[in-house]
């Protein structure tokens, strides 16, 4: 690392932030852009499991809330891809790489949503896991990203409440409805535990070293368990992991080691719904290519 890079590293480690036009080390720019791009991809792919249920929402209120939630996610994708574009990679290229499988998106969006129970569990727990990650980006050394994270976190606040409302209504309902929740939880627990990624020592995590994010993977997972296992248990739901417990002294959660092979396989494009969903994106994009041409021509 040369002196200029060293100075930059010390600057960001001291809490300094940079803007789009500032000089940054190549390594920083590359890692940063890849990280942010994956986030944008995840928001964009995240709408697909949920939008199937917009059509099937069982009350007008749920219909509106779910549509608004998915709309927010599209809005977040827009914010994020604009940041990536200002870092030098146009939106079209991002979509090319997403659809071809060259770039990635988060594991949870590669799985099917089978019931209305999934809709509740996703909004309650998957979004909660995501918000923990997102809060760790609020002080990102790259200021444009930190700024959009503020808007994103603020908008996500209603998503969790909506999720909790759906779940509580189901848990207070019929036996069948309670079963919907438990069954969905059983399926989503594995992906949830993998969501924050495998443990990486702080000094070996480039995201932490460059102050792109302020929390390590394991810490994020512990925070998730701290916040949400009690919420799960208090409703009489069970978590499908017999080893899950909180150490009385250290207050750290112990659990069955998540399946890191599954995580790797899924994010490299082998999830149960990966191909279908990328296909849908590709189709939607092809079908609307003429619209973009028409708008360009004027």
């Amino acid at each position: 690392m040369d002196q200029r890079e060293q100075d930059f590293l010390e600057y960001v480690q001291g809490g300094g932030q940079v803007e789009a036009g500032d000089w940054m080390p190549d390594e920083y720019r590359t890692r940063l852009r890849k990280f942010i791009e994956m986030h944008g991809n995840s928001e964009l792919m995240g709408v697909l499991p949920e939008r199937e249920w917009i059509l099937r929402a069982p009350t007008l209120q749920r219909k509106l809330a779910l549509t608004a939630k998915v709309q927010d996610e599209v809005g977040h994708a827009q914010l994020i891809y604009r940041v990536v574009e200002d870092l030098g990679k146009p939106r079209d290229e991002c979509f090319d790489d997403l659809i071809s499988g060259k770039s990635k998106f988060h594991n949870v969006f590669h799985y099917p949503t089978k019931t209305w129970g999934d809709v509740g569990v996703i909004a309650w727990l998957v979004d909660a896991a995501a918000i923990i990650s997102q809060k760790a980006l609020l002080k990102c050394s790259y200021a444009p990203y930190a700024r959009i994270m503020k808007k994103i976190c603020w908008e996500e606040s209603f998503h969790i409440l909506h999720g909790r409302d759906v779940i509580l209504t189901l848990m207070n309902g019929t036996d069948d409805q309670r079963e919907l929740v438990q069954e969905a939880l059983n399926r989503w627990w594995g992906p949830l535990m993998q969501f924050h990624g495998n443990p990486i020592p702080a000094d070996q995590d480039p995201m932490l070293v460059w102050r792109i994010k302020s929390q390590g993977n394991d810490e994020a997972r512990q925070q998730f368990l701290d916040g949400y296992v009690p919420q799960i248990w208090e409703l009489g739901l069970t978590v499908p992991d017999r080893a899950l417990r909180q150490d009385e002294q250290t207050r750290r959660w112990q659990y069955t080691e998540p399946d890191w092979d599954e995580l790797k396989s899924v994010v490299t494009g082998h999830g149960p719904k990966t191909e279908d969903r990328l296909d849908l994106r590709r189709q939607a994009r092809e079908n609307s290519a003429w619209v973009r041409s028409v708008l360009l021509a004027a």
């Binding site: 604009r82 079209d92 979509f95 808007k151 908008e155 939607a284 994009r285 609307s288 004027a298």
Partner: protein, 106 residues
């Protein structure tokens, strides 16, 4: 979904006013084919929750950025740090035989 290509790509910067009396702050940017689309999109992206009192939507190409300022000769005469008064005040008090002010200093 794609960007409007580089040659005719129109990026609009959006500034929002949270409450009356507050300054407009930069909120983000959108891509749009023209002003009509920009207005529609800015309204939804930055105001669908009624979270903004008002928005300014400006083509990025209309914004003039200035980020280099020159002060080679340290012009401190029009800044507060150009007026270190502690020593002079100490000297003046000693001359007047007053070591402490009768009333608290401003």
């Amino acid at each position: 979904m794609g960007a409007l290509g580089p040659p005719r790509s129109l990026i609009y910067e959006v500034f929002r006013q949270e409450r009356k009396g507050q300054a407009f702050q930069h909120a983000g940017s959108i891509e749009a084919a023209d002003e009509r689309f920009a207005e529609s999109y800015a309204r939804e992206q930055y105001g669908r929750r009624g979270e903004s009192q008002a928005l300014w939507v400006v083509a990025r190409s209309s914004i003039l950025q200035i980020d280099e300022f020159v002060d080679e000769l340290n012009r401190n005469y029009h800044r507060v740090d150009g007026y270190p008064l502690k020593e002079k005040l100490k000297e003046a008090r000693e001359r007047a035989g007053t070591s402490r002010p009768a009333v608290a200093d401003r």
